[in-house]
């Protein structure tokens, strides 16, 4: 039964998946996937006849190095990619033209786009954020603003007004996007000292989890965010700094298994994604399990049957009807080579209420 409304996408990437994103357009079924095999894939869940199933590989964009993140731009015809070649690129889907927006000084782990402020933000292991204005006009020479961070950013996520940057050493910065956009735009016009802009975060927090942050994802309602760590735990927190709101934050254990010899085997929680409609969220762990959670009622909605390998990425479509799950053998199981056919892309068609919380007990 669980297999009836879930299908695997044909011709998945040949190496581990690093990220997957659905198109921002409401009824679109397009999905981009970045992979360690140096390509970005564009799929459509619908085939020529418009029926959903199997999915279809539309395009494939080659990069010089493994691609670590991808996101859609203003519409589904442009994407931004970030990769191990230190570059942040913009790809025009129609022409296939690739433009390098900026180069970091180390691998670029993540890239996000804010449609509200027309900026692309990339986070790199060189401990900086690059902020690119996409409305800068034809002057493509304009350099991105460089925002230094205290540590390497591991995951970034944004809402319409805020940017959450989760870094090494359990640091976490929340930036006000408006201020960020403004400050970096100013720096751009002044163009002094190599566009380096010290931006004071709106809030500076310490992760409420004791171990390295793995992923951070913002709630659709601009209320707060969830973060996960390598130690099988997810924390849910609110932006509002008032003590009442802060009192609501919590964390819970998940993605653990008891082994035969009585050990509690703890898997990293690699991926988080919020459902755009119901506000519930999915977590994907190194144990190959995807679970849906109701962050408000603090309850698990459901847990899907184990996938064959570690979950690398999860994502909901814009209308909330599909859940895509990228499965890749984890480096956590110490495998060096990725054998054929273990990297898979599952898409689950969600029932009306499948991702909806049941409400507090």
């Amino acid at each position: 039964m669980s297999s009836s409304n879930q299908f695997t996408i044909a011709s998945p990437p040949t190496d581990a998946i690093s990220a997957l994103k659905f198109s921002p357009e409401a009824e679109s079924t397009r999905i981009v996937v970045s992979s360690w095999d140096k390509h970005v894939y564009l799929y459509d869940l619908r085939d020529e006849n418009g029926t959903v199933g199997e999915g279809k590989l539309l395009q494939k964009f080659e990069h010089r190095a493994p691609v670590l993140d991808v996101c859609f731009g203003d519409n589904e015809n442009e994407i931004y990619t970030a990769g191990l070649d230190w570059d942040v690129r913009k790809i025009d889907m129609n022409t296939g033209q690739q433009t390098v927006l900026s180069s970091h000084e180390a691998g670029v782990r993540s890239v996000v786009y804010s449609p509200e402020h027309s900026i692309v933000i990339s986070g790199s292991w060189d401990s900086t954020l690059h902020v690119h204005r996409t409305d800068a006009g034809p002057d493509t020479e304009s350099q991105p603003a460089v925002v230094p961070l205290p540590s390497k950013p591991f995951s970034i996520s944004l809402t319409s007004t805020k940017l959450v940057v989760a870094m090494a050493s359990r640091a976490l910065h929340i930036y006000d996007l408006k201020a960020l956009a403004l400050l970096t735009a100013q720096a751009d016009s002044e163009s002094t000292n190599g566009n380096r802009v010290e931006v004071e975060p709106w809030q500076r927090r310490e992760s409420s989890l004791k171990f390295m942050t793995r992923c951070v994802a913002c709630m659709p309602g601009d209320m707060g965010y969830a973060s996960s760590s390598i130690e099988g735990r997810v924390a849910v927190e609110w932006f509002d700094p008032s003590p009442e709101s802060q009192a609501r934050k919590y964390a819970f254990k998940c993605h653990r298994q008891t082994s035969e010899d009585g050990f509690d085997v703890v898997y990293p929680v690699n991926a988080l994604a919020f459902h755009p409609v119901h506000g519930s969220f999915a977590s994907g762990g190194g144990d190959g399990v995807v679970a849906l959670w109701d962050g408000i009622a603090k309850r698990r909605i459901r847990q899907y049957q184990k996938y064959p390998s570690s979950i690398a990425a999860v994502g909901f479509s814009s209308n909330g009807k599909y859940l895509a799950v990228g499965v890749s053998p984890g480096f956590e199981d110490g495998k060096d080579e990725v054998s054929e056919g273990v990297v898979k892309l599952f898409v689950r068609e969600l029932g009306e209420t499948e991702a909806k919380g049941k409400g507090a007990k």
């Binding site: 039964m1 669980s2 297999s3 009836s4 409304n5 581990a16 690093s18 493994p66 670590l68 191990l84 070649d85 230190w86 000084e105 180390a106 691998g107 292991w125 060189d126 540590s151 390497k152 591991f154 090494a168 050493s169 359990r170 640091a171 010290e198 004071e200 809030q203 500076r204 927090r205 310490e206 409420s208 004791k210 171990f211 390295m212 793995r214 390598i230 130690e231 099988g232 700094p241 003590p243 802060q246 009192a247 609501r248 934050k249 964390a251 009585g262 050990f263 509690d264 085997v265 703890v266 990293p268 190194g286 049957q305 984890g330 480096f331 956590e332 199981d333 060096d336 029932g351 209420t353």
Partner: protein, 441 residues
């Protein structure tokens, strides 16, 4: 003395209804059927609960035009639709036998284990053994009681002073009596430095300048300059601040109360206000949190209270971090922040980062529960094994270092140096203050 409750007998265990699909057993049949409806016979599409697999299959095909292929949440070898199960009915004989076998073996195993552990005779032999056993039992209990009493007396006699004071601190009383403070455990070990006000204030401003960290909320009361140096200087590893020391948490509020008090402007900079500070303002102006016991009578002894022991505590904690503890277990800072947050709420709302982060533990989220001592205990009771446990390098970075992903940019050599330099600040944070500063600035 009533009959001691032993575990259920084998017959009772065998009579328990259990679920064919997942081998779970239940108290009664009704619950079993409810379980099956909820776990195995529930339609994933519409949530309707059917009574049997066949029913679900028909429902799926008629309502959703789909074919049911397997039972959800079932053991791998029981997913089939071929057996019609309702409650305990329909379970194939061989499976039933196997289940009984399993239960019996488990029971015997448990019995044997218990016997080995307690040395008690097996359940059956109780009838004959009881009369003889009873007096013996009483004797041992008496013995134990007497032993306990004796121990208590001895403990009182010998440990008298020190243990007497140490416990109250942990129990949430204010450690007013000063002299013993020095004998109390680590967190207060620095109290001897209290009398000399100089070191503390000196050490505080220093880091501030050193890091030249922007203090957006400098205008805020004294807390900011006070806390920030600590957390900012070591922003990455103040994990500290997330784990209150259970024993200490009730303590800091009183200890710290002077800071939020706005009437103490020069606190951080000059030692002079120090002595004047303790007596009255603390008690009169700052509302004590409800969790604290009423102010003890000996409050006049307040000057002696190691309110200023806080910076030294941090210093010690720094030392601990220098020793290379990735996540220091014993840290007092958080509890201080904690105390502040609960005690003086106006401190929290300004979105000063430190306040936010410190408000967190106070919020009574998972953190307090996971407090300092607990993780270690937990570890003992249920050992955990982390699949990925590198604290400084993310899995992606590790993966990127694999030769097959090596990417040679023109600046490849530079890349390697950059990477190693990046590593330094992180590890440096743990070990040595200087290495943190140098590469960063």
């Amino acid at each position: 003395m009533g009959k001691k409750r032993r575990g259920p007998s084998l017959e009772e265990l065998l009579a328990r209804p259990w679920c064919y699909y997942c081998e779970r057993d239940f108290d009664d049949l009704k619950i079993l059927t409810l379980h099956q409806k909820a776990k195995h016979f529930k339609c994933e599409r519409c949530g309707r609960r059917l009574n049997t697999a066949g029913g679900l299959s028909v429902h799926m095909s008629q309502v959703h035009k789909e074919q049911l292929t397997e039972i959800e949440n079932a053991l791998p070898n029981r997913v089939g639709l071929d057996v019609e199960i309702f409650g305990m009915e329909g379970i194939p004989d061989d499976v039933l036998q196997a289940h009984h076998q399993r239960v019996a073996t488990q029971f015997q195993q448990a019995e044997a284990d218990r016997q080995a552990a307690t040395g008690n005779p097996p359940a059956g032999s109780g009838a004959s053994g009881q009369p003889a056993k009873k007096p013996r039992l009483e004797a041992t209990s008496d013995l134990k009681k007497r032993l306990a009493e004796h121990r208590a007396r001895r403990a009182e006699g010998t440990a008298g002073g020190s243990s007497g004071e140490a416990t109250p601190v942990g129990a949430g009383q204010t450690p007013v009596p000063t002299p013993p403070v020095s004998t109390t455990p680590s967190a207060y070990a620095q109290s001897p430095t209290v009398p000399s006000p100089a070191p503390a204030p000196m050490s505080i401003p220093a880091p501030v300048q050193q890091y030249s960290y922007p203090q957006p909320y400098g205008g805020a009361p004294a807390v900011a300059p006070y806390q920030q140096p600590v957390n900012l200087g070591y922003p990455p590893f103040s994990p500290a601040s997330a784990q209150p020391v259970p024993g200490a948490s009730p303590y800091p509020p009183t200890g710290y109360s002077p800071q939020p008090f706005p009437g103490q402007p020069g606190y951080g900079a000059s030692p002079s206000p120090y002595p004047s500070q303790q007596p009255t303002p603390t008690e009169s102006a700052i509302p004590r949190p409800a969790s604290l016991p009423p102010p003890p009578a000996g409050l006049s002894g307040l000057p002696q209270r190691p309110a200023f022991a806080a910076p030294p505590v941090n210093a010690q904690q720094m030392q601990q971090m220098h020793m290379g503890h990735p996540v220091p277990q014993k840290v007092a800072v958080p509890s201080y922040g904690n105390g502040n947050a609960t005690q003086d709420t106006p401190q929290v709302p300004p979105p000063s980062d430190n306040n936010v982060s410190s408000a967190a533990p106070a919020a009574g989220t998972e953190k307090p529960a996971d407090g300092t001592e607990k993780p270690s205990k937990k570890d003992k009771s249920k050992p955990t094994r982390m699949i990925y446990s590198d604290e400084t390098t993310s899995p992606e970075e590790k993966m990127a270092q694999l030769p097959r992903y090596a990417f040679s940019r023109d600046r490849f050599t530079q890349e390697t140096t950059v990477v190693s330099e990046l590593g330094a600040p992180v590890t440096g944070t743990i070990r040595d203050q200087d290495t943190v500063v140098d590469p960063a600035h």
